[in-house]
């Protein structure tokens, strides 16, 4: 349980850092809610920026994210992305 929680925390922190950077904002991860829209009033993530972000996330978390995990899927808020990345991290570590 603790391990799962710490992994989720690690992934959430990494995702929030990257969405802030991709949106070119001067905020901290604590300023971003889990249900913050990825493409809305605060965060400005477009599809191609999103993909580049996933590749940088691989470096940050030291995992290789499989292609079929993302292609054709729809992501609305920050936690949608955290859920999928967390699953990949747990399956591929």
């Amino acid at each position: 349980m603790t391990t799962t929680h710490s992994r989720r925390d690690e992934v959430t922190l990494a995702v929030k850092r990257l969405v802030i950077r991709e949106s070119r904002l001067s905020l901290t991860p604590a300023d971003i809610a889990d249900d913050e829209p990825l493409n809305g009033a605060v965060l400005r993530i477009n599809s191609l920026g999103f993909l580049g972000m996933l590749v940088r996330l691989e470096d940050e978390l030291d995992v290789v994210l499989p292609d079929d995990l993302f292609t054709g899927k729809v992501f609305t808020v920050v936690s949608d992305l955290v859920d999928v990345v967390l699953r990949a991290v747990e399956e591929h570590r």
Binding site: R44, N46, S47, L48, L54, L65, G72
Partner: protein, 431 residues
């Protein structure tokens, strides 16, 4: 045959300007591009192993021929040897199959079942249709309507390979006008791809990953020249968006930057009807008529520029690839514009001297090579990117004296680029 692609990105010494997010926001984010293609676009890794499944397809037509064009040299009064790298010998008839196979492989691996694309001359559509046949994917192609009418056998070939072909504007999407004709066909493909499960839009050239896949051309050419004991100091290719030029030329730039070879001049030859590299602006512009994607830093004549009909549909694109544009901006790429009469005449001269009919697009490269062969000290390498056997009506019109040059008008260029945001000096990032 080379078993790896070579990226020029680690040898640039600067970052490419980042894409700009479109102004409108809201709505969910979705992805249609396999991650491996994104890695290939942004990573500074130099060598990328070609997947075995793609290599197996490459082996059916690669290595492609390279020869010294003695008769063409005589025909154009060349002062140095001219070497031809010929990419027209596969079923698609052009270099486009090099990246189509790679892209189809990665899309299939990502779970996509149908790829959708837009095509001008039909070379890209044919290549993608062939690649989809090879990897068991459905393929839908939106082809510029006028081009499909002029070259009906392109449509026949795509359908023979199992693709569904629509003349654009097709009536199947909300787009009926806007931008130039290729940008419209691409825009239709983008919209259509969004409308069905398992579909993904697949772009022909211009993206970094596409240029990476095309590096097989230059890598092979360098080995073949070495085997002949030959040297060149100018490498020439035609530019629509820049994939065949990037493919033949950038491996030579990488070799030089890696200390493996002398510098060569990289000469891009564009159409005088779409003179982005010689008369365009370095600015952020859209790559298609929907304007839904990010804006890329490119040399552009404006995505709204009304490009006239010409015999080289593959060159009728308003912008150059962002990689090629950055290299042009940093002085690593030279460019000349050639009119279609000179291009088709160079193609005719090549046909009668080397007994190969080049595509009109490749005629531009040959015209540039003929000019370069009067300036070069050691030799010229030119990429003949495709055959012209489905473009014979263009040569008919040349022989009948009915081909007119369509140089872009100054005021139209100024109007189409007036609203574009120029790439700022601080974003061009010299390290």
């Amino acid at each position: 045959m080379t078993a790896a692609w070579r990226s020029v990105l680690p040898h640039l010494g600067y970052d490419l300007p980042p894409d700009l997010t479109p102004e409108r926001t809201g709505g969910p984010v979705s992805t249609g591009l396999p991650l491996e293609l994104v890695r290939q676009s942004i990573s500074l890794r130099e060598w990328w192993d070609i997947p075995e499944e793609v290599l197996a397809q490459y082996r059916k037509y690669r290595p492609t021929p390279l020869w010294r064009a003695h008769a063409f040299e005589k025909e154009v009064d060349a002062r140095v040897p001219v070497y031809v790298k010929y990419e027209g010998g596969n079923i698609s008839g052009s270099h486009k199959l090099n990246t189509a196979l790679a892209q189809a492989f990665y899309y299939k691996r990502a779970g996509v079942t149908e790829v959708v694309t837009g095509t001008g001359a039909g070379q890209w559509g044919t290549a993608l249709a062939a690649a989809c046949a090879a990897f068991g994917l459905r393929c839908t192609v939106f082809m510029v309507g006028g081009s499909l009418r002029d070259k009906p056998y392109r449509g026949s070939l795509m359908r023979l390979l199992g693709a569904t072909v629509h003349a654009s504007p097709s009536g199947l999407t909300s787009l009926t006008e806007g931008g130039n004709s290729l940008a419209l066909a691409i825009g239709e493909a983008v919209e259509y791809a969004r409308g069905g499960e398992g579909r993904a839009f697949c772009i022909g050239s211009g993206e970094n990953y596409s240029i990476l896949h095309q590096s097989v051309i230059g890598l092979e050419a360098a080995d073949q020249l070495h085997a002949l004991g030959a040297e060149v100091d100018i490498v020439v290719g035609s530019v629509g968006a820049g994939s065949n030029f990037g493919g033949v030329a950038l491996p030579f730039h990488a070799r030089h930057r890696a200390g493996e070879a002398d510098a060569v001049r990289l000469l891009a030859v564009e159409s005088s009807a779409t003179p982005k590299l010689t008369r365009g602006v370095y600015a952020y512009d859209h790559t298609d008529a929907t304007g839904s994607g990010p804006m890329e830093a490119m040399y552009s004549i404006g995505s709204s520029f009304p490009i006239p009909a010409s015999h080289s549909a593959g060159l009728r694109f308003h912008g150059a690839a962002k990689l090629l544009s950055a290299m042009r901006h940093h002085g690593s790429v030279d460019a000349v514009a050639v009119g279609q009469r000179e291009a088709l005449d160079a193609g005719r001269r090549f046909a009668v001297s080397e007994l190969v009919v080049p595509a009109p697009e490749s005629g531009h490269a040959l015209a540039g090579a003929a000019r370069a062969a009067r300036e070069s000290k050691r030799g010229v390498l030119v990429c003949v990117s495709g055959h012209g056997l489905l473009d014979l009506s263009a040569y008919d019109q040349l022989l009948a004296g009915r081909v007119r040059d369509l140089a872009a008008d100054d005021s139209a260029l100024a109007a189409a680029t007036a609203g574009l945001r120029l790439v700022e000096a601080d974003l061009t990032g010299v390290k």
